[in-house]
Symmetry: C2
Subunit: 424 residues, 2 copies
């Protein structure tokens, strides 16, 4: 980029100079010449993961073989890694397990939660979920509602008035409210405490999806009295492609949870091999089959990037990065047809920004070709994620100036940037 | 072991000399001084997996980042690896996907199969499964039966007369029969063709669990007209600890399958992000969430150990190894209190042998301490798996002679061998 240095660049440099998280960039392996604004889709590779996986494969699997389930502590890993994540989401260490995918865990939690609500009152037969949430959440809610014969009410995401109406209309018939805290596309965020209170005010149970929350800012599950949560570990938690997901059940509900995917790892005594299912007393009952051990141990190693990190610092830096980004978009990209979909009020958003543009797809591809990696969500959204542990204010400045150059030069309109890949 | 060379040892050497699979031992990394008879629980590490995983982590994740979903072909991996497995189980390449755990896949298949049977006739409301199968299968059958309101009939595993009676008693009310081809504990095996025909004779659908079959001997799903199957990839397929499982749906049923765990990866157009679930036309509809990519790519690399392997050779060698083992147990261990639980007729067993002994647990531990690794299943079973790609007849001879030494010396009774670990 070959512009005269604008004052905003110097401001970015100054902000970086006082960044308490600046040194944490060294905890990640990132390629040269890349500004990575897609950590909300796949987090960067933390230092130490590759080395740990060599040890797991060559020593623990290759030499330890079956013995490693005991000697290398593979068996307790779902609980152990769950305990690591619990610290980042305001839960107790015996309230979180790591297993399966977010979709599978949501199926388990929604089914268990609906059964729990119905065990208290059979008239509770409504599930509220979101129409424009990440699609898998809507598909899962629909499937669970059909299997259990409950009514599914869909509202628009982050429409607080619509949610309030739907909750009060359902009243004592409401069993469960299932929402994603930060919308995957807009980046808009619910107030977790107020929303959970609202669900509880009519006696319903609250399920939060934390896919775009965990590792992005402080989440306070127990302070907000949340009942259940699920989330993914390959975004801001940097667990690697398809890393196993997590699942939270508040201690007070654990004994009553009936996991529809009851499997041997959720049994109170898996190695007794009895034919009758007797669930584990605690959170382990939400486990199903054998843990995806390679993914789980990679995640465990990756989570060390959060050692000694204050999540309040993460949130402060995230807001600072995003404020600068939006300010620069306003200043530098005026007249190029961009809109800002994400709320401008920092308390109403997560750690990502969605711009809209009618040519969003080729513009995203042109940016990626220049090393500024964001992603595109149909029909017109350019998504940029801000992972505070490995991004600087100067990165953000460079990214926006690169976008400006692409727009000024018109290079985004090259036919090669219009070609669609399998994953866009 | 310090015995005079018995004639049986020379026979083992002779058998190894004419073994067409002898050279395949070089496709595995195994520790010195270990005879590994637990490949039916966790397969050995194939050559090349560690190197491939370094590439996946440092290059594809670390440098490629989100772009690798396209550029490194991560996205199609569940289908691509499914196609590799299809060749080993007598299926077509578009009939198998790799995803989730065996338990989760069994839930998906049983639910889909029962719904399919009921869509043809609502009076089909019986599911037959096994009481003493691997426990997770029984737990899953029980959960699915409850969710769908069908009747669960449990029979004893590999009791052909009981199965025949149960199928005919259910008759036109029978929806689905779900069996594991080789029992995890006894090693006894169903006749897949005859049993599938029996289920079909009353119009029921057949689900096979291939956990102890795939990679152990030729499986001929389509020749046997099987409807559905699931199986694990970390035993005889050597995919690594907790490697993702596989799932087979015969082509003729795919369009009618309704996956209860409907998720975005099963959608016909996942990246259109639409709120209505429209299933993929083919086997992809059985996918749910994001694939466990590290486990999946490790499995893909591991499966190259089967390149150019004739599964008929695998079966022949497996029978030869087991015949030698049982013969030596009869000859060398007479009077020490062992029983042979596994059928002695080779066509009635898989690729493992179960011995019984009242002190099975400490004997297993003492054997492991000497480098002969098998495992124990309560209350009294010593299990030995015979993976023909990396075991020799001499290994089998040494293993039995080691067991004899442990029994003769009484060292199995040392208190340290009685202590129980978390995983036994």
């Amino acid at each position: 980029v070959n512009y005269p240095t604008p004052p905003s660049f110097l401001r970015a440099v100054t902000l970086d100079a006082s960044d308490p998280l600046a040194e944490y960039r060294g905890r990640f392996v990132l390629p040269d010449n890349v500004i990575y604004l897609d950590g909300n889709s796949l987090g960067a590779l933390p230092v130490g993961v590759a080395e740990r996986m060599q040890q797991v494969i060559t020593q623990e699997w290759g030499v330890g073989l079956i013995r490693s389930w005991n000697s290398a502590d593979w068996y307790p890993a779902p609980i152990r890694v769950g305990s690591q994540i619990s610290k980042l989401i305001g839960a107790d260490s015996d309230e979180v397990v790591v297993c399966d995918s977010t979709s599978v865990n949501l199926f388990k939690v929604l089914t268990s939660a609906l059964r729990l609500a119905q065990s208290v009152s059979t008239q509770r037969n409504i599930l509220i979920a979101e129409r424009d949430n990440f699609p898998t959440n809507t598909y899962t809610a629909s499937s669970v509602a059909e299997l259990l014969g409950v009514e599914l009410v869909l509202i628009d995401s982050i429409d607080v008035a619509a949610l309030d109406s739907a909750i009060h209309a359902a009243g004592e018939r409401l069993a469960v409210v299932s929402l994603t805290q930060v919308n995957y596309k807009s980046g808009a965020r619910y107030d977790m405490a107020a929303t959970t209170d609202l669900a509880h005010s009519v006696g319903a149970l609250m399920v939060w999806d934390l896919c775009h929350s965990a590792g992005a800012f402080p989440v306070l599950l127990n302070d907000c009295d949340v009942d259940f949560a699920v989330g993914c570990s390959y975004k801001y938690l940097n667990g690697g492609p398809g890393a196993p997901a997590f699942l939270f059940v508040a201690k007070r509900h654990q004994k009553a949870m009936r996991n529809p995917l009851q499997g041997w790892h959720g049994h109170v005594a898996p190695f007794a091999f009895t034919s009758e299912f007797v669930p584990h007393v605690g959170i382990d009952r939400m486990l199903t089959g054998t843990a995806s051990q390679l993914g789980l141990l990679a995640l465990e190693a990756a989570l060390h990037a959060f050692d000694d990190v204050d999540m309040n610092d993460v949130r402060s830096k995230s807001m600072s990065l995003i404020d600068l980004f939006i300010e620069l978009v306003d200043e530098e990209l005026a007249g190029y047809g961009f809109g800002v979909l994400t709320p401008r009020e920092s308390d109403q958003r997560g750690s990502q920004v969605a711009l809209t543009h009618e040519h969003g797809y080729p513009i995203t591809q042109a940016l990626i070709a220049c090393g500024v990696i964001g992603d595109f969500r149909a029909p017109n959204v350019l998504r940029f994620g801000f992972a505070p542990l490995y991004l600087s204010h100067v990165d953000i400045h460079r990214a926006v100036m690169q976008l400006k150059e692409i727009m000024e030069s018109g290079e985004w309109d090259d036919p090669k940037f219009h070609a669609r890949g399998a994953v866009t």
